[in-house]
Symmetry: D2
Subunit: 359 residues, 4 copies
């Protein structure tokens, strides 16, 4: 269970890292949307392994094939099924892991839960699954663009290298100027240097991604349990290696007084009502207020180290896991398009839900 | 929409702050559970206004009335409907807010979304709704106790007063020893002092609650979108004023190397497999691993200040909102039982879901 | 589980026949709808026991109390919680049924499923639950009336007394002209006579209700599993004692050739496209085509006889159940408003879903 | 929307008749089930076109390819994605239908709903989608066999040729002895003769399929809206061309007295409680009572005739649709495995749901 997200715009994914293919089904896609498959593929390319010196050496082509739901280039309102064939798998790399539980991975929990596990490349627990989300997210973004809604994300922290928390200081067009996807050129240089050092050490490093959603109309989000930020938070936390989520001032609110962080209303030149600040992060009472939505997602360092690791196997024996496989020293650069995709998926779902609000 | 949480164990809530009553319906409660209504009421009493000098002066009795689903003291497997009548409302306190948008409240977003708003006491956006969650959570905890699962939470930060992040240093039986619900007596003293100062200033203050879930068996949580921490995160973020969620090391992972924070496996004296550390927070790959689950929830300062506030009304006119009503200078003490309730609701739902995992 | 219906417009019900109250929560009600509570009560009155000589002698007032979701007479978009207190219960009538399984009732299945059962008046399995549906349905109808959609139903068969299958021969305003709710006066007379005879015999009798939905726009219903008639069918079959559902020609299609029953298209005077016949019953490919939707629901005779009945108890002993309680000799007259209510609930849900169809 | 069925065991399907492929995703499949793919393929073969002289001349191979969720022949508890490539399509056959609305098809309703339609072979409204259900159903049946639960169905009426309504008179092993899938050899002969005559006439004919589910334990089904028969009914009505559903005595109950059709309890030789008759059809109060579940599904004649048909196009012009394509004169023989599949899907879902019933 649990392989579907959304209420109206719904994505169901399937597939293991080393199976025949991964893929997904999008149900609830509005009809009449022209879909640019090349743009979808470009997002996949931003997520794919092997794209730079600081990502895994695996080199997967990751071509999306759309099987249904489009007719003459437009959505028909019927489900969009798609697959991405698995290739360049080196399942043999995982033979020694069949019965072994890698530390801080899902090997142990999957085995205990299901009594059986596809150990090759992490099976279903592999972040490879997120490729399907990127496909769906890329399509959702194309829908959102019709409503003037945009989503972007960037690497804002790697280890102890952080950029300013105020996203407005950075230009989203500069995110892809470097391979770590940080719009602050100097911080990016330092992050890359750090990741390369970590990689040389056979180690990995954590970080933070900042996400921003612009152009959201007032009114998205549903009380009580489906507050917009609760759904966004769940979507972000469902990304592999995510360990924390905050929006607006987030944890910094804990040490603030109400009088300091009230988003006071003012009256704009055109007479419209406008908040003067946006400490709330674009969401009040769980509902978007028309301001930018911004949030931060914490990622732990990748659990797979390129070192020999002492661990146990399913028979409770101590074993040493020899360093193998091809892994990322830092997930952040490749997680940026995933965060963007999840933003788009959530926002589109609530945009559609909100059509049902009034008589 | 959005007033239901859960897949198997499902809570639907209803009710406005100043309507006739609030309440809820629990569907999916297993049959045959002896329910101690007094214990439910005790949890409600921990949440109720007017319980101490640092909570709001409103004094609501908040008696739960169970209307269905129990027979001779036991659950029958049919839905448990319950209500809590609203009383001690002073709706007149809100007459001046009918058309006014209080800063950082949901007044504006609800009005824009629905075109109509029950302005009295915040209406549906009031934290009063959480009383229904406390009822359901208290019943869920009674079910969980049959499986050796416990949940507790405590105030771990108010303003700049923080306790150690390691929850194992504190004794859960000491949480209710003070009115701020912090198990560190000295920190509690300082927190209370700070809240009293803030209250005198007509201001409010934010903070952090730490939640802990013990005795969780291996295997709860569903890939991919319903990872245990994603659902827990959504549940916590759905609490009024919550702005951030992290589990395990959370945001601290960002500045850690994989080699430092791997939860290595060892072999216990009885030959069983055991992780030696618990940086992961009891969840790996979205599935519980049998260790304690621990997490932190950030709360913003209450938006309602006991000061005159300059704001606007729905006609776009500048108005001054005179200080009125009775509000909490800090939500943390009363949010502790809500965090516990949401933990129990989520864990019970996944415990039941997990029954469907294997042939 | 299973106490909620709908995707957008969702009704959750609770309550046992002899508990404190029954009730429900409507989530997804659009905001801004003026609700006429008296009109809701009138529908409840059409369903209530004791309304005529051919219904049960129980005389329940059945007053609906709305607890939330309305503000100054209009819906606010937040959940509508409501209760109907149970009164005039004579639980003592059921003391002898505590351990006894009445034939063709749910006594045995509930006991085996849950291990516990509220035996008083059928508990949760009582048709009393449908009062909550009538409340929700009456509100849904008030929403639908804004879109020109109407629902009505009538008794079309009792025992061997049938009216013509063509609903167009009858005037909906004549349905409530008689106590059996059949718009054919002569058939109604015979049905009433039959029911009175059956009642004198301490027996019960089955029948059929025809439902009609008018003014439905083209496009309601979702492929593949949520075809409009599949959802309507499920809703009708969920009514107590319902045993069959058909729409359009229904089972009569089995003996027809395609050439006989094709709904050919023609061109109306105003140039619009119009089907010339409506064998399909207003639904093609699971989606409404703008014609009247009509369907038939079969009801079995009430299982409770006013005779001594030989049966068994939970210890597997033969027992005789003495005739007691107050029951309907025929459910049809009181089921008419329930069928209407379920129609309205389903159609409103799909009307709202359909808002999400297009870009 | 609407392309998913089930709560725990969930099938989502996708695909158009003339797209690249159709397929589905099964979520909630229990882990550890050995899956016999050949047995799945055999069910697909029973549904496939071109299998006999009384089905369509289209000859689709319909090979299922499983892409995920199986590891070394067993289910892993992760989603099972599968596809069936479309081949032997003659999309050109449909060129003349691009703007034409075929009578009693979904052409008009899809166009009006979505504003766009894949006209080739009926697109998403094609019964080709049911191949995905047969795959999922065949897997569900393999799970059910571990619990001693079986499902079968057969053609019980074609036009005016009917078999006895009592399913116990027929041997399920004889169903596939003839191409119409009727276990009464003489009736089968007449049905085939009738279908061949109808085919020669360029016409089509309706009928009824009887479904039976054996070995169902007591307790499946959920009150109130998810009664077992309501879910079964919805599942059956969601099959293309289905127009009616009844279970137990169904519509025949309408003309019966309660005293005639009570399923009285008796005590079996081994002291267990047993109903003596099964008018109820194995379900009481929406919950299985341990007896055989039996039901009937009415199918209309296929709408596509092999004759020239006068109809209209989307511009409101009268056109003549020349007879083309390859269609079934009667859907019943190929619908038998679909009815069986839907039975298995529904029963498995409720079997899993029922695991959550008790403490």
């Amino acid at each position: 269970m649990g392989n579907t997200i959304g209420k109206i715009f719904r994505l169901t994914t399937f597939g293991e890292s080393h199976g025949a293919a991964i893929g997904g089904v999008i149900d609830g896609m509005p009809s009449g949307v022209e879909i640019d498959i090349d743009a979808v593929q470009r997002q996949l390319d931003r997520r794919r392994p092997g794209q730079s010196s600081i990502t895994t050496g695996r080199n997967e082509g990751d071509r999306v094939q759309v099987l249904s739901g489009l007719f003459e280039g437009r959505t028909t309102g019927t489900p969009i099924g798609f697959i991405i064939e698995n290739s360049n798998q080196r399942s043999g790399d995982y033979d020694n892991m069949r019965d072994v539980f890698r530390p801080s991975h899902a090997d142990y929990t999957y085995t205990e839960k299901y009594g059986i596990r596809d150990h090759r490349g992490g099976g279903r627990s592999s972040a490879r699954e997120t490729a399907a989300r990127v496909v769906a997210g890329a399509m959702a973004r194309q829908v959102l663009s019709h409503y003037g809604i945009g989503t972007y994300a960037y690497t804002s922290q790697v280890g102890d290298i952080c950029v300013d928390k105020d996203y407005r200081r950075y230009n989203p067009t500069e995110i892809d100027n470097n391979i770590v996807r940080c719009p602050d050129a100097e911080a990016a240089r330092q992050m890359i240097e750090l990741i390369e050092q970590v990689k040389r050490d056979g180690d990995t490093i954590g970080g933070v991604i900042t996400g921003v959603i612009t152009g959201v109309p007032v009114g998205l989000g549903e009380p009580v349990f489906d507050k917009l930020h609760a759904a966004l938070g769940a979507a972000m936390l469902s990304i592999n290696a995510a360990k924390g989520f905050e929006y607006g001032l987030g944890f910094d609110f804990a040490n603030r007084r109400g009088s300091e962080v009230a988003d006071n209303f003012g009256i704009a030149a055109d007479g419209s009502i406008k908040v003067e600040t946006n400490y709330s992060g674009g969401i009040q009472g769980g509902i978007s207020n028309g301001e930018d939505i911004y949030f931060r997602v914490a990622f732990k360092p990748v659990a797979t180290l390129l070192r020999d690791v002492a661990t146990v196997n399913s028979r409770g024996e101590s074993v040493t896991l020899k360093a193998r496989g091809r892994h990322d020293p830092c997930v952040l650069p490749r997680a940026v398009p995933i965060v963007e995709a999840m933003s788009a998926i959530v926002i589109l779902d609530f945009l559609l839900q909100n059509r049902c609000t009034r008589l």
